[in-house]
Structure formats: C-alpha cells, structure tokens
Symmetry: C2
Subunit: 441 residues, 2 copies
C-alpha cells in the first residue's frame, strides 16, 4: 500500500500523538507518581506534537523530568515533522509550479532520487541543530548563575527547542511562562530570534542563505519577510500604545523594557506562545489584536501555524491592487496568479469558519466569556499556545474539542493546501461557462 | 460644477442628516418640550437617514409626534435615496458591464434621457408606495382593536415605512421593539415580508416581476434569492436550536411561536433591526451568529446594509469552486469574472478592518464587554439597529464614533464599490508583470 503525502502527514502525526499520550499516562511521567489519566496525557501530547503549547496542567510543576523529556522529544518530532513535510510538499509541487525561473531548492535537492531526499533530510537536521544548539548555549549561560550547571543546561535546551519549534512550552512553573524574564534582554532576544527563524520556514532560510541580497530572493521569500516585518512592527506599536498606561502590564516597566515587552508580545503570536506580560491583564483591544495576529500566524514550511503570512499577504495585496484599479494581484513587480489568490481565500474562509464554529461550541459548553473562548480557540487552531486561563478549566467536552482543534489546526491547513493544489491540476479540462457579472458591495 | 454620483450620495446624505438634526433639536420635537441637544438629535437623524435604527433615546416615549414624523420622513428619504442611487449606479455601470445578454433595466430605463430618469423615479416611487401602503393597511387593521383608529393608522404607517426601508425604528416604547408581538402571526409576517422585499433590492424585484420564472432571471437575481433564502433558513434553524432551552427567550413559547420567533430573529439582521426576543438575554452563540448575519446584511440596490448577500455569495462560491478543483468561480453554470471576485474580497476585507478597528476604539472608550461592543459596531456599520443595550449608555466619544460608523456603513460600501468599478475601467492599460507563485496555507 502506497500512502499519499497527506496521508503520511495525518496518520504520522496521529501515531506520534498516541505514543506520546501513552508514555505520559505512565505514573513515572508525573512528579506525584500518579498517572495523569489518558485525557490529560492526550491533551498534552497533542499540544506538544502540534507544537501548540496550550496546557491543562503546568509543565514545570506537574510532570516529572521523564515526562518533560517526553514532551521535549514530542515537540522536536512534531516541529521537524511539519517543517520537513511542508518543505517536501513545496518541492514536490515545485516541480510543476515554478516558484521562479531559477528554482532554489530543486537545484539543491532532487526529491525524485534517494540521494536527494537524504541530502534534504540532512540539511533540515543541520539547520535545526545549528539554531537550537546556539540558542541552548546562550540560554544556559544566562540561566547558569541563577540555577547551577545541570538545571541551566536542561532549561537552556528545553526552552531553545520549545522556541525554535514554536511550541511555547516552558518549565518556569505555575503557568508563568517567561513573565519572570520580562526585562531580560538576553532571554528575550534569543527566544524572539528562535521564534522568528523557526517561523520563517526552511525554504526562506535557505533562499536567504543562497542569495545574500533580499531583492535576488524569490517572491515567496520577499513576501514572507515583508509581511513578518510588518506584523511585528505594527503589532508592537499597537501593544505599546494600548498597554502603556495599564498598571498590570507595561506601566510599572521602564521605557526600554516597555519597548522590549511590546516587541515580545508582538512576536509570540507568530505562533510561539510564550509570554512575558500577564495575558489576562492585558486590555480588551490588545487581546483582540493578539487574536488577529495568532490567526494570521507564521510562514509556510516552518514550525509555526495559522493561515500563514503569505496567505494574508496575498489577500492584502489583492485588496491593495483592487484599490489601485488593477484587476490582477500585483506585488514586488510580479503578478500572483488567480489560482493562488482563490486558494488563499479558500484557506482564510475555511479557517474563519472553523474558528468561529468551535468558539460557538465552547460558548455553549464552557462557563466563560466570548473573547476568552475566541482567544483560546484561535490559539489552539493557530498552534500558538497563548491562554487567558480558560484551558486548565475546560470541561471534558471542551478538552476534547480543543484537542481536535489543535490537531486540525496543525495538519489541516497544509493538507488542505496540498489537496486544493492537486485538485486544481487534475481538473484543467473542466467545462468553461459563460461569464456573467453581479453587483457586489 | 458637476458632481460625480458618489459626491451626490456622500453630500446628499450629509445634508439631509444635518437638516434632520436641526429639526430634532427643536423643543417641539420632544414630548417634554425641552431640546434634545444637538448630539442626541444628530445621532437620531443619522440613524434615521442611514436607516440604521440604533437609538440613544426611546423613539416612542422621548420624541413628540412632530419628532416622530420627522424621523419617519428621514427614514423615507434615506431609504428611497439609497435605493434610487444604488439602482441608478447599477444602470450607469450596466451600460458597460453586461449583467446578461438581455439587459433587464436598460431596456426599461434609458438613464441618458430625461424621460428615462423620470420613468425610473416613477417606478421606484410606485414600488415603494405599493409595498408600504399594503403593509400599513394590514398593520393598521391589526392594531385597530388595541389602539383605536387614529393611533392604529399612525402606528401602521410608521412601522410599515420603518420595515420596508429596513430602518427598525419603532414606537412601542422603552426600547421594547416588537417583543410584545412575539406570537402575533399577522404583525410578524407583514414586517418580515416588508423587510425581505425591501432588502432584495429594486433591481431584483423588477427582474422577478418581468421574468415570472426564477431560472429566466439574471445571475444576480438568482444569487440574491439563493443566498437570502440560505441565510434565513440556516439562521432560523441555528437560533431555534441555540435558544430552545433558554428560559428568557424561546423556552416559555409554544412550538409554533418558537418557530415564528426564530424565523423573525433570522430575518431581522438583514438589516431591519426589529426584534421580538429580548436580545441581551439570547445565548452568546446566538449573539455571535447575529453579528455574522448583520455583517453580511441585505442585497445591493435595496434599503438594507452590510457587505451584501452577493459579496458573501461570490466569496462562498469561489471557495466552493476552489474545493471542487475549479480555478474559476462557477455558480449556476456561469463564471463570475475575476474582477468581481477581487472586488468582493476588497469590500469584505475593508469592512472587516473598519468593524474591528471601531470595536477596538470602543473597547478603550466604553465600559462594556467585547461581544457587546462588536455587536453594536456591526449593527451600526451594517445599518441594522439591533442593540444589546450599549447604545443608550455610550460616552460622548462613543456616540460620535457610532455616528461616523453608521454614516460610513451607509454610504461607504456603495461609494467604495462605485469607485473600485470605475478605477478598474480606467486602468486597463496598466503594465503587466510576470507571474510568480507563492506557497500559501
Ligand atoms: K505554539
Ligand atoms: K436598520
């Protein structure tokens, strides 16, 4: 039996989640020595493999070192898996879809040959290892005076892996995430760097590495960089303004720390899930801004989730082109084909439908408020992991719903994009109907 | 000086609003004999001319008969104005855009000739008069035993005009809207009928009248009918399920009244603004469903607001086409041109941005919760008028923001659609850039 790439993805993730859940159900996985129970273990394993980071129990205080190492491995497998699968998919599609006359990765990796696949796997492992080990060393050195050698190395490694894979799991205890490090420039910059590089995607990293200059890169890379930069800057600016006078978040901090914390809260929805400010204490406007940023998420072929920066970018540039009176989507002196625009609309529309439907379900099953439920669902679907505190209080139905949302948010958009792209190729000879216009707006 | 159609619309509405506000500032406009003050008068006049229906003071108890008649006239002018302007716009554009080989209205009205314009104006007035007088007679007869002749005729006329123009103003007192008539089949059916026919648009009414059979109608008409029917049925079904056990809404009602009330609450967001159930007592899920329905709104060239059923329909059928593997938007065996699809995306995207931005502003200025603010803003932007009770409590800044939102929600989408359509025609000779694809999703 030969499996399609989408089936490998869907079944592979499910298998790893199940194995992880079984390991986490073992009594030795918890500090107390009592089994966590299957639902809690399944929730945690799903969150780890999908690199989401939502947790029903605190990672640092609830799980034993064994449990934490299982979680760390699940994050690494999940992160590598999604990065490899989505990049491979781009390569496979890339044979038919020309990303540019000069095909960056098809030159490097011929995915039709065993040799090419091995080379590709080696590259992804090397890139991951380079980023994670660099992050781990710097974080360990920073934690050293505070924690001693053994704990510092362990914490450095865990948080570096968690950050590069955009997982957002932390060992700081009591659901605190990185709030204790709000003014720590080293920790903030390292974690932000890992989040951003992990979220840009393997394809973009390789393209930048090969081309040196941004204007020589593919449209894809330029779009990813532009939208990522735009979201970080606008997000940070708005959070800075909205939280400036909030006594529970930015107000007590000095000016430069205010800027650092705003920047961090703008980077983390893409889709890491760490936080240095108290999320429930943020203003309603900031919470909603975070929801929008989480929904957009990171870039394709990386470790992050969401509908992706490029999907948002394609829609944004379509709107800007229409406003300018152009009837095609033009960006960076390139035309984005209609099929890509339509596919972006489909991905955004279906994702909105899923998030809103699940939120409606939670509004029936949970005793919370709408914004909190929307926040948690978007966080689960976008594999972000930021939480206003609802997740640990979820009902059994709520937990199951969020487990399914995390899973579908992880494998869904990619398999959907794959399936849509493949269908469009097959149906070229479809019947052509006459044009007819309608009034809109 | 010759004004463009968009300028006529923008300035004409502003002028009527200002005159209305001045009249409502007069002491004789209120029951108490004291001036309402300019801000309250401006809010009410804007709400009436934009046929929104949001009110900061109760129409039935606060305003004198003089004030109420001013409001009724403002509604009539606003409703007729938007219907005439938007239909004229379709006619003007229609000369270049072929709605179908056989041009329904260009045959009937040649807008280049004075004769054609007069004939057109006569038709719109006749259609409006027929619907409103029929509604007024039936409602008056129904109100007669309860109110006596004079009041029954007045109430019949006021509510018929308010319903056909999708205004949602009522005289029942204490912000009660039609909650006292929740089980009254005559009132419900008449009001629903007026709302739906007013919301379908003049173009669709004329097309149906001329063609007799739906399958002979233009794609525009079939799309409007299909989406309107779909929204009413799905909306009613969901409200029925979500409110079935709610002791403050459907639970105390008998089965057939449950169905009637669900149907009414599903029709009124398109974009009338009457209600027969207590809106603040509805479930969170129903409130959010109402927000979505209000955002979509009614059909073009009618009295309703929102992004319009056709805009939603074009996006929906694009998504369905993509899922089916088609790279064009196909519906009813017709292809919708890319330019219309892109324009729909632009209208939906810009509208989402406006609603979310204004909601963020209110979340800073008002002491309420997110869902309530989003509800009120969507209601204002979509010219709906449904309220969870925030509007009468708005701060001064909040009132000004909602006034601007009502105005931009009324003239915005149409002028935007006009401007976009005209720009696209002008820029045909724009430079063509090479295609390049990007990964999405
Ligand atoms: K995450
Ligand atoms: K209305």
């Amino acid at each position: 039996m030969k499996l399609a790439p989408t089936q490998v993805l869907v079944l592979g993730f499910a298998a790893v989640i199940l194995i992880g859940a079984l390991l986490l159900t073992l009594p030795i996985a918890t500090k107390s020595g009592e089994s966590a129970g299957f639902l809690t273990a399944l929730f945690t394993a799903t969150s780890a493999v999908c690199v989401t980071g939502l947790v029903v129990v605190d990672t640092g205080t609830y799980w034993s070192t064994f449990g934490q190492v299982v979680i760390m491995l699940l994050i690494q497998i999940g992160g590598l898996g999604i990065m490899a699968m989505s990049t491979l998919f781009a390569l496979i599609l890339g044979r038919k879809i020309t990303f540019k006359e000069r095909l960056v990765m098809q030159e490097a990796f011929n995915v039709n040959s065993l040799e090419g696949i091995v080379k590709f796997a080696k590259y992804i492992l090397i890139v991951t290892f380079l980023f994670e080990s660099t992050g781990a060393v710097i974080l360990s050195l920073r934690f050293l005076p505070q924690m001693g050698l053994k704990k510092a190395v362990y914490y450095g490694l865990f948080h570096s892996i968690s950050a590069f894979n955009n997982a957002g799991f932390d060992l700081m205890g009591n659901f605190n995430s990185l709030t204790g490090y709000v003014s720590d420039w080293v920790v903030n910059l390292v974690i932000m760097g890992l989040i951003i590089f992990g979220g840009l995607g393997f394809y973009v990293l390789l393209d930048i590495y090969q081309q040196k200059h941004l204007h020589e890169c593919t449209l894809h890379t330029r779009l990813v960089i532009t939208i990522t930069f735009f979201l970080i800057v606008v997000g940070a600016l708005l959070i800075f303004l909205l939280e400036y006078n909030n006594p529970k978040t930015l107000k007590p901090l000095d000016f430069s720390t205010k800027i650092l914390a705003s920047l961090f809260q703008s980077v983390t929805p893409r889709t890491a899930g760490f936080n240095t400010l108290s999320l429930p204490d943020m203003t309603t406007a900031s919470k909603f801004l975070t929801i929008i940023l989480m929904f957009i998420g990171a870039s394709p072929a990386g470790t992050g989730g969401g509908i992706k920066t490029t999907t948002f970018g394609v829609i944004l540039f379509t709107v800007l082109s229409v406003i300018k009176g152009n009837d095609e989507t033009v960006t960076f002196k390139r035309t984005i084909p209609r099929s890509i625009v339509y596919r972006s609309i489909a991905i955004a529309f279906i994702s909105i439908c899923i998030v809103l439907s699940v939120t409606m379900v939670l509004s029936v099953t949970e005793a919370s408020n709408f914004l909190t439920e929307l926040y948690e669902v978007t966080s689960a679907f976008g594999t972000v992991g930021l939480s206003l505190g609802l997740t640990p209080k979820l009902t059994v139905i709520g937990r199951i719903v969020i487990i399914l949302t995390m899973y579908s948010g992880r494998v869904g958009p990619l398999t959907l994009a794959m399936a849509l792209a493949q269908r469009q190729k097959k149906n070229k000879a479809i019947m052509k109907f006459a044009d007819e216009k309608v009034m809109v707006g």
